[in-house]
């Protein structure tokens, strides 16, 4: 839908309660507080989300479970690092708030090649830290 002018939108459509959109990822908010070792209905969809954006290596046979396993925790930590969140590995409120935001469909991590913060910090730790400390 192309809205030619924000002021021309009919009043009935502007009322927040009148919209019946189904934001694709709103359901993820029910996982607030979920942590490693738990099993929750629908966690597989969150794993699919992380897979779509490159945080879980994708394979044709990907069949995600509803378990909060090491794979999800690792993905979550990389995501939190990329979005400047506290790296807790848990589905805290701030992380979920970021996850459900509308976004670009391009992956953050492409072909397993880490990008954004999650790669920069690791290269800093293995290379940069030593040299900068020396100087």
């Amino acid at each position: 839908t192309l809205l030619p002018n924000i002021t021309a939108i009919p009043p009935w459509q502007q009322h927040p309660n009148a919209t019946s959109f189904a934001a694709a990822w709103d359901a993820f908010t029910k996982f607030a507080g979920c942590h490693s070792g738990e099993t929750r209905d629908g966690l597989s969809k969150l794993k699919q989300y992380f897979s779509n954006f490159g945080y879980i290596p994708n394979s044709p046979s990907s069949n995600f479970t509803d378990d909060f396993d090491d794979e999800l925790e690792k993905a979550l930590k990389a995501y939190q690092q990329n979005f400047n969140l506290n790296v807790t590995g848990q589905l805290d409120d701030r992380t979920l708030e970021q996850i459900v935001r509308p976004r670009c469909g391009n992956a953050d991590i492409v072909n397993g090649t880490s990008s954004m913060n999650s790669s920069k910090s690791s290269s800093f730790q293995t290379v940069g830290h030593f040299h900068t400390t020396g100087h």
């Binding site: 192309l2 809205l3 924000i6 002021t7 976004r103 469909g105 391009n106 953050d108 492409v110 990008s115």
Partner: protein
């Protein structure tokens, strides 16, 4: 800023790029002007130029609105969620989710529609991908992956400018400000001719 793996970019002999809109979308001039403005943000800081063409089949960059599964393996998901995606150089494919409530003009921040998305904000971001930039962790950068609906962000930040200029160099007219000094259609060519 980041790049795609392998750092793909438009080759030296393809820096004057053309773009075309999917004819079936039948976009108005007002909508097309939003994309023109978005391209201008990037041409202001690089030697790249962007010119609209009617020839969809030969354009370097193709822009289209699609719903759901549209054949590239990356289906759209309806209102909000994924808004758009674009391919790395030199694919040139730029797809937007037709199911979004795209705001073409006016102050999107005044909208009380929770799902209103500013078209130019997303266009500027996706053009960054078309030119070779990946996502950035800098929250103010255009290439940050998420946006909050009802917000507008169309000016390139230092992070975006540093990234794109490391791929293509700087526009000779670029003076450190992203405020446009000329329009896309009449600015100097790379060899200095008007």
């Amino acid at each position: 800023y980041t790049f795609f793996p392998g750092t793909p970019r438009w080759p030296v002999n393809r820096r004057d790029l053309t773009y075309a809109f999917l004819p079936g979308n039948e976009l108005t001039d007002e909508v097309k002007a939003v994309f023109t403005s978005a391209f201008q943000k990037w041409s202001a800081v690089t030697p790249l130029t962007f010119t609209e063409t009617d020839s969809y089949s030969t354009a370097d960059i193709t822009i289209g609105f699609y719903s759901g599964d549209h054949g590239d393996g990356e289906p759209f998901d309806g209102v909000l969620g994924t808004l758009a995606h674009a391919f790395s150089p030199t694919s040139g494919r730029f797809h937007l989710d037709a199911d979004e409530n795209w705001v073409v003009s006016g102050d999107v921040t005044r909208s009380s529609i929770p799902s209103a998305v500013d078209l130019e904000t997303v266009a500027v971001h996706e053009i960054g991908h078309l030119l070779g930039l990946g996502h950035s962790s800098v929250e103010d950068a255009i290439m940050y992956p998420t946006i909050t609906s009802g917000t507008r962000k169309v000016e390139l930040e230092d992070d975006d400018i540093q990234g794109i200029q490391s791929l293509y160099g700087s526009n000779p007219n670029y003076n450190g400000s992203t405020t446009p000094t000329a329009t896309t259609g009449d600015r100097e060519s790379s060899d200095g001719e008007i």
